[in-house]
């Protein structure tokens, strides 16, 4: 937190006491962080150990990590519906993320850079919907899907997720920070609106797009309430909806369940790590300074 600009000379009074305090603070910091990491990481480690053993029993220890068997993962992917659920989740999440990135950045640009009638009230309306609880829209959406015959289909999983206003808000905030001189220059050179958007705004928005991409992928992948409302069979279920059906009353195959749980984490980890790089690169190297 605070640092002192010039180090205190060793001969100054109270120096050794201050050093002890500083060392104690550092030790306490490391201790606290190690405890926190234990709390966040060790449960997952335990789940990992269980997934690597052939067990219905509840008691496992970490020795499984030394002699792992991957039977549970093979079973999870190829013999149970887990593979199907994962594919559904992947399709839905990728499509939603891709579409949201496009339409939200288009709309965000319009709100940030174009004047038009009703701009402010419309934006306020979008922001206001952030406060609307999920069940408010899910009930009618269920009825709508029912009458359109879209119950238990992937489009029903994809379409409602495109309507959230978070992305427009994010992209508008981001695009507002791009200096408008770049667009003015482009316009003088005769570029059309769309060309300005595609060639100038988009490349400079990569950190914002990366943030929105991570966020959208993670929330779509983890969505649970809507998928359990709208899907009723394994063929259409997403991974969260399917995973929730696994732990049974008695005799749950915990090895398999743990394998499925860990498998569901992998795409999120990959997306996070990949998009993080674009995020960092964009922030550190990618933009002209503000005017």
């Amino acid at each position: 937190m605070a640092t002192i600009a010039t180090p205190t000379p060793a001969s100054a009074p109270g120096y050794s006491r201050r050093r002890t305090v500083a060392v104690a603070k550092d030790a306490a910091t490391y201790a606290a962080l190690i405890i926190a990491c234990f709390i966040t990481f060790s449960p997952i480690l335990f789940v990992l150990a269980t997934s690597l053993t052939n067990t219905y029993s509840k008691v496992t220890d970490l020795s499984a990590l030394l002699e792992p068997t991957f039977d549970n993962y093979v079973a999870a992917l190829f013999e149970t519906s887990i593979g199907r659920w994962a594919v559904n989740s992947l399709i839905v999440s990728v499509v939603v993320t891709a579409v949201v990135l496009i339409i939200d950045s288009l709309a965000g640009y319009a709100f940030a850079r174009r004047k038009f009638r009703g701009r402010e009230p419309l934006f306020m309306l979008l922001i206001a919907t952030l406060m609307v609880p999920a069940t408010v829209t899910f009930l009618p959406l269920f009825l709508l899907s029912n009458s359109l015959g879209l119950i238990n289909t992937l489009p029903a999983l994809i379409l409602p997720a495109l309507a959230y206003a978070v992305g427009v808000f994010l992209m508008r905030q981001f695009i507002e920070t791009i200096p408008s001189e770049l667009e003015d220059a482009a316009r003088i050179d005769g570029l059309s609106d769309l060309a300005i958007f595609a060639r100038i705004i988009l490349p400079l928005s990569i950190p914002g797009l990366a943030t929105l991409g991570i966020f959208t992928f993670m929330t779509t992948w983890s969505a649970f309430l809507w998928p359990i409302i709208i899907t009723s069979s394994d063929a259409a279920r997403t991974l969260p909806a399917g995973l929730a059906t696994l732990p049974g009353q008695y005799n749950t195959n915990w090895g398999l369940v743990c394998a499925g749980t860990l498998l569901s984490m992998i795409p999120l980890m990959i997306v996070f790590l990949v998009f993080q790089r674009y995020l960092m690169a964009g922030i550190l190297g990618g933009r002209a300074g503000k005017g």
């Binding site: 640092t3 603070k25 997952i44 789940v47 496009i102 709309a107 009930l139 009618p140 770049l182 980890m269």
Partner: protein
């Protein structure tokens, strides 16, 4: 021009069509079209169309639904405000609402407080910061459902992970999922476990953008350590914290996944969230109208809370 640095990743390619004088005048050559007019609406329309169909229409539809009753397949009829009267008299509704509010009160201060604490730790000059951050962020990669399934396993009474560790300290096995007095805290703890690291990273990003000279100047006056955290870091983070608090409020009041999967709303509705109850009324009791009325009620609760938070927590920071 206000451009001070050169972009090193994406260099915008501008076609050099050579603006001749006649082109600038709007004469022969490239036409210089005036902006305003239809352009903005073309950019907006994809989002607006989807927004209208899948957000606005359902919003209005729910308001109408809340005034109706009957099974949805055989047709519903209007019954005015009767659903609202019913829900006010329904003790399970108030229990579920209380549970959701308790979740919010447990999760928001603890989660955001822990996030600030962890961010403060990570912001210090320590080694292995990246390693710590990586280990801490792991719970965020679990969906709420995956985390709940994992913790169902870990919280088992006989030989579950948590009771195993407590056993090392001589504590008897505790029935985490089946004890009515504990379930609210257990669900809140799992949600905090999942979310606090995410808040920590968000706050850490904010903290790292605070210029060092502020701390140096304060140190000259003898303000260091925790006092500096309280008087410099926290006030400057206020917008981010406010954002986190408002988003967390909106989100936890509608919590569904963890209480549904981990404790299944039990025992005897002790941990059932309001969203869970709405789901049950709509799809098990086949009473869409009542469920819609409850959803509208929840919307109002969220609205009031968000407005209160924005009013009380938003203050300008001057240095």
């Amino acid at each position: 021009m206000g451009v001070t640095g050169t972009p090193s990743i994406a260099v915008p390619r501008i076609d050099d069509r050579g603006s001749t004088a006649s082109e600038m005048r709007g004469g022969p050559g490239r036409r210089y079209r005036l902006r305003a007019g239809i352009g903005p609406y073309l950019f907006l329309s994809p989002k607006l169309v989807v927004f209208a169909i899948f957000m606005l229409v359902p919003l209005v539809w729910t308001l109408l639904l809340s005034l109706q009753t009957g099974p949805y397949l055989k047709g519903m009829r209007f019954n005015g405000l009767e659903n609202y009267v019913t829900l006010v008299g329904n003790s399970t509704f108030w229990l579920a609402l209380r549970n959701s509010i308790v979740y919010a009160l447990l999760i928001i201060p603890t989660g955001i407080g822990l996030g600030l604490f962890l961010a403060g730790l990570l912001n210090r000059r320590i080694r292995f910061r990246a390693a710590f951050a990586l280990l801490l962020i792991i719970p965020t990669f679990t969906s709420a459902v995956a985390a709940s399934v994992a913790w169902t396993y870990l919280l088992q009474t006989d030989g579950g992970y948590v009771n195993l560790i407590l056993g090392l300290f001589g504590i008897k096995p505790i029935n985490w999922i089946g004890t009515p007095g504990l379930v609210l805290f257990v669900n809140a703890a799992v949600e905090i476990w999942r979310n606090a690291p995410f808040w920590a990273l968000l706050f850490l990003a904010g903290m790292q953008s605070i210029p060092q000279y502020l701390y140096d100047a304060a140190a000259i006056d003898g303000v260091v350590g925790f006092r500096a955290f309280r008087m410099i870091t926290l006030p400057l983070l206020r917008p981010v914290i406010l954002f986190a608090v408002v988003m967390a409020s909106i989100w936890t009041l509608q919590i569904f996944d963890v209480p549904y999967v981990l404790t299944k709303g039990g025992p005897a509705n002790a941990s059932m969230s309001l969203s869970h109850y709405i789901y049950r009324i709509a799809f098990q009791n086949d009473n869409m109208g009542l469920a819609a009325a409850m959803s509208v009620f929840l919307l109002l609760v969220i609205l009031v809370l968000a407005i209160l938070e924005l009013r009380f927590l938003r203050k300008e920071v001057q240095f």
